[in-house]
C-alpha cells in the first residue's frame, strides 16, 4: 500500500558534515552505509551546483531530500515494492510516485516545523554541541512519530496544510467564549478543538501560518489523547516566532473538547485554570456536548448530505481551512452490493484521491509563509499537465473497483468526494455540486 504504516524512514543529519542526528520510523533501520550514500549523493550534487530533491528507485521506492536553514538535512525514504503494489489496485497507480513525492515533501516540512516548534530555531541552526543537540532532539520524537504514523485517519491537515475543522451546530457562543477566554488570559490567540479539530478560534489564531495551526492542532491532539487535564507547553512558532518561545496553555474542558491559548509569561497555568476555565466555559457545557456528538461527521445536522456520499473533503482555498467528513455509517451506507469500503479505507481513498488531483490537475496554493528553501525545488508537483495548459481544470473524476471519486474546484473551494459504485457516473457532478452548495448554505464555510 502506498502509505503503509511504518514503511517510511526518516533520517536527520547535519547539513554541513553529514553527522547523523536521529532516525525515526520503519521498524528496520537503514544501514549506516546507505544513510551515508544518501547524504553523499546530495552533497555531490551541491558541489556541482545541483540540488537533489527527490528520486525514484527502480522498485518504486522514493527518496526525498531537503536542507533547512543550511543546517539540518532531512531525508525521507519510502520502502520500495509496497509503494508500487497497493496503488495499482486503487486504480491510481500511475500517480503513485508523484503523489508519494508530495506526501514525503510535506512530511519533511512538517518534521522540520515540529523540530523548530519544540526546540526553537537557534538551537537547531547554531548548535555548538552536537551531542547535546542529539539529546535535545529526543524531545521531538513524540510529535515526529505522530506525523509518521498518522494515527488519526480522518485528520488530513498535515497533507493539505489546511486546518482540520469541525463546524459546530451553534458556533456563535463558542466563538465569543474563545474570544473572551483568550482575552482574560492576556492572549490574542485562542482556539477550541473538538475531537482534535478546530471548532472555534480567535481572529489572530487564524492569522498564524496554516502549517503552524496544523502543527499546534497535532500537539493538542496528542495531549488530548494522553488524557492530561491541563498543560503548559513552551512552543516556538516556526514562522511567527522561531526564536522566542510562547506558552501553549491547554485545558481539557470535557474529554474530546480542549481549549488552548498562546501566552506570554502570565497567567500561570494554575491561575488560569482555577479562575478562568470555569467562568467562561461552564455555561457552555451543553453546547460543547452537542459539538462532541457530531463526531467524525464534522458537520452540523442542519447540513443534509445525500445518502450517496461516502466521505468528503472540503477545502476553503482562501482561509486555508478544511472539513473532512464521514457521514454516520448507519444512514450513509446500508448493506450494498458490492459493499462499500470500510471507514478506514474510505479515509485512505479520500487521501489518495486528494493527492491524485493535486499532483495532476489542480493547482496547489502554497500557503503564505512557506519556507522557501532550495530555490523552490518542492514547488513543481503539478508541473507537467497543468503547466502545459493555459486553463485550470475545474472537475475531475476517477472510478476504481472500490468507489467513485469526484472533485471540483471553484475560486474559493475545492471539494473531494467519494460515492459508492452504485452511484450513476452521470450524477456525480450533480451530487458534488449539491453537496458543496448545501454545506456552504448551511454553515457559510
Amino acid at each position: 500500500m502506498m502509505f503503509q504504516e511504518g514503511s517510511i524512514q526518516l533520517v536527520c543529519l547535519t547539513a554541513s558534515s553529514g553527522v547523523p542526528l536521529f532516525t525515526r520510523g520503519a521498524s528496520r533501520q537503514l544501514p549506516f552505509s546507505i544513510i551515508g550514500s544518501l547524504n553523499g549523493v546530495h552533497m555531490f550534487g551541491s558541489g556541482q551546483g545541483v540540488t537533489l530533491s527527490s528520486c525514484e528507485t527502480e522498485g518504486g521506492g522514493r527518496v526525498v531530500w531537503r536542507v533547512f536553514q543550511d543546517s539540518v538535512m532531512l531525508i525521507a525514504v519510502n520502502a520500495s515494492q509496497q509503494a508500487g503494489q497497493g496503488v495499482e489496485s486503487s486504480g491510481q497507480g500511475v500517480e503513485s510516485s508523484k503523489g508519494e513525492r508530495l506526501h514525503l515533501q510535506r512530511l519533511l516540512e512538517n518534521v522540520w516545523n515540529c523540530m523548530v516548534m519544540v526546540l526553537g530555531q537557534d538551537e537547531l541552526v547554531n548548535a555548538k554541541n552536537l551531542e547535546r543537540l542529539k539529546r535535545d532532539l529526543r524531545s521531538c520524537f513524540s510529535l515526529v512519530d505522530e506525523l509518521l504514523e498518522e494515527r488519526r485517519p480522518g485528520i488530513l491537515g498535515h497533507l493539505t496544510h489546511c486546518a482540520d475543522c469541525l463546524l459546530p451546530p451553534q458556533p456563535v457562543p463558542l466563538q465569543e467564549a474563545v474570544q473572551s477566554f483568550a482575552k482574560a488570559a492576556d492572549s490574542e490567540f485562542g482556539c477550541l478543538l473538538i475531537h482534535g479539530r478546530v471548532a472555534a478560534a480567535t481572529e489572530m489564531w487564524w492569522r498564524l501560518a496554516p502549517q503552524e495551526i496544523v502543527l499546534l492542532s497535532a500537539v493538542m491532539r496528542a495531549l488530548s489523547d494522553s488524557g492530561a487535564a491541563s498543560c503548559d507547553y513552551p512552543v516556538f512558532l516556526p514562522q511567527g516566532s522561531p526564536t522566542v518561545a510562547h506558552r501553549l496553555l491547554r485545558f481539557q474542558l470535557l474529554p474530546g473538547a480542549d481549549v488552548c491559548v498562546l501566552c506570554g509569561p502570565t497567567p500561570s497555568l494554575h491561575g488560569a485554570e482555577s479562575t478562568l476555565v470555569g467562568r467562561f466555559w461552564s455555561p457552555l457545557v451543553d453546547n460543547l456536548r452537542d459539538c462532541l456528538a457530531i463526531g467524525e461527521r464534522c458537520l452540523p445536522s442542519s447540513v443534509t448530505l445525500r445518502p450517496d456520499v461516502l466521505a468528503l473533503l472540503l477545502i476553503n482555498r482562501e482561509n486555508h481551512r478544511s472539513v473532512s467528513c464521514m457521514p454516520a455509517p448507519s444512514c450513509a451506507y446500508p448493506q450494498r452490493d458490492p459493499p462499500s469500503p470500510s471507514e478506514a479505507r474510505c479515509w485512505e481513498l479520500l487521501k489518495r484521491f486528494y493527492i491524485f488531483c493535486m499532483t495532476r490537475y489542480f493547482k496547489q496554493e502554497e500557503a503564505e509563509g512557506t519556507t522557501e528553501e532550495e530555490g523552490g525545488t518542492h514547488q513543481g508537483n503539478t508541473e507537467d499537465f497543468v503547466n502545459g495548459f493555459s486553463h485550470q481544470p475545474l472537475k475531475c473524476y476517477v472510478i476504481t473497483d472500490e468507489c467513485k471519486s469526484f472533485a471540483l474546484q471553484t475560486p474559493q473551494h475545492q471539494l473531494f468526494l467519494l460515492t459508492p459504485l452504485t452511484a450513476p457516473t452521470f450524477a456525480l457532478n450533480t451530487i458534488a455540486a449539491q453537496t458543496l452548495s448545501s454545506i456552504i448554505a448551511a454553515t457559510g464555510f
Binding site: 524531545s139 494522553s226 491541563s230 518561545a245 497555568l269 494554575h270 457545557v285
Partner: protein, 240 residues
C-alpha cells in the same frame, strides 16, 4: 516537615473494599475502569448524599525516564505509554479518590491534580519549576527500582527542594518500575535504610502490568489523602 503518620490512623484503610464505599466508587468508575473527567466535570452524588470535594496539587519530581508520566497515567487509570517520550512541558492529570475519615465517618472526595513536568523541559525553560511550585500541597519524589543512581540521588533531590521552597508540603517517595524486579538494582535493605533516615513513606509501584488498579493504588491514595488532610487541619488550627 510533616510528621510521618501511621498508616490508617485518620482515614479508613482499604475502604474501597467495603460495601458502604460502593456508592461512592461507582461515581468514579465505569465498567471497572476509571471515568475520565474534564475540568468542567466532577463526580456527582445524589442530592441526599452531600459530599465535599477537596482539591490538592501534587508535584511529581524525578529525573527524565524515571516514570513520572507513567505514574500519573497509572494512577489516573489512563493508558500508560510503553515507550519513553520526553514530556516537553507541564502536564497535569486529575484523579478523584473517595475516602472516609475514621473519627467522624465523614466521606470526602479527594481531587488530586498531579503535576508532571519533563525533566529536560525543566532544565531548558526557567519558568516551569516556579509554576509547578505555585500553591503546591504535596510532592512525590520518584526513583526507579531499575536505576540505582536515581535512588542515590534522592537525598540530593529532597534537599534541593526543601532549600528552594518556602512552606513545608507533604512529602512522599515513590519507587517506580517495581514490576521489573528482574532488573532490580536495589535491595530491600537500601530502601528500608532510606526510609529510616528520612522518615518518609516509600511506595513501590509498577505500571507495567494492567491488574486491578484500585487495589494497587489505594495505599498511595489513602496515605496521600491522610497526610494532606492532616496538614490542612494543622494549618487551620494554627490560624484559629
Amino acid at each position: 516537615m510533616t510528621q510521618a503518620l501511621k498508616h490508617g490512623s485518620i482515614i479508613v484503610a482499604d475502604w474501597h473494599r467495603c460495601k458502604d464505599s460502593k456508592e461512592y466508587f461507582s461515581k468514579i468508575l465505569h465498567k471497572k475502569k476509571r471515568k475520565i473527567f474534564g475540568l468542567l466535570e466532577s463526580p456527582v452524588m445524589p442530592p441526599h448524599v452531600p459530599v465535599d470535594t477537596v482539591h490538592y496539587k501534587v508535584f511529581l519530581s524525578g529525573k527524565s525516564g524515571v516514570g513520572k508520566s507513567a505514574l500519573a497515567a497509572h494512577l489516573a487509570g489512563l493508558k500508560v505509554p510503553s515507550t519513553h517520550y520526553e514530556t516537553t512541558g507541564i502536564e497535569t492529570t486529575v484523579v478523584y479518590w473517595p475516602a472516609k475519615l475514621k473519627e467522624s465517618g465523614r466521606v470526602l472526595f479527594f481531587r488530586f491534580q498531579l503535576w508532571d513536568c519533563g525533566e529536560n523541559a525543566l532544565r531548558r525553560f526557567d519558568h516551569l519549576l516556579p509554576s509547578c511550585k505555585e500553591k503546591v500541597d504535596a510532592v512525590l519524589f520518584l526513583f526507579s527500582f531499575t536505576d540505582r543512581t536515581s535512588f542515590d540521588d534522592l537525598a540530593n533531590q529532597i534537599t534541593k527542594w526543601n532549600e528552594s521552597s518556602g512552606s513545608p508540603v507533604v512529602t512522599m517517595v515513590v519507587g517506580t518500575k517495581f514490576d521489573l524486579f528482574m532488573h532490580c538494582d536495589l535491595s530491600e535493605k537500601d530502601v528500608r535504610g532510606f526510609q529510616e533516615t528520612w522518615q518518609l513513606p516509600v511506595f513501590r509501584m509498577g505500571c507495567g502490568e494492567d491488574d486491578d488498579r484500585l487495589d494497587v493504588t489505594a495505599p498511595l491514595f489513602n496515605s496521600l489523602a491522610e497526610s494532606l488532610w492532616l496538614q490542612d487541619c494543622i494549618i487551620a488550627g494554627q490560624q484559629v
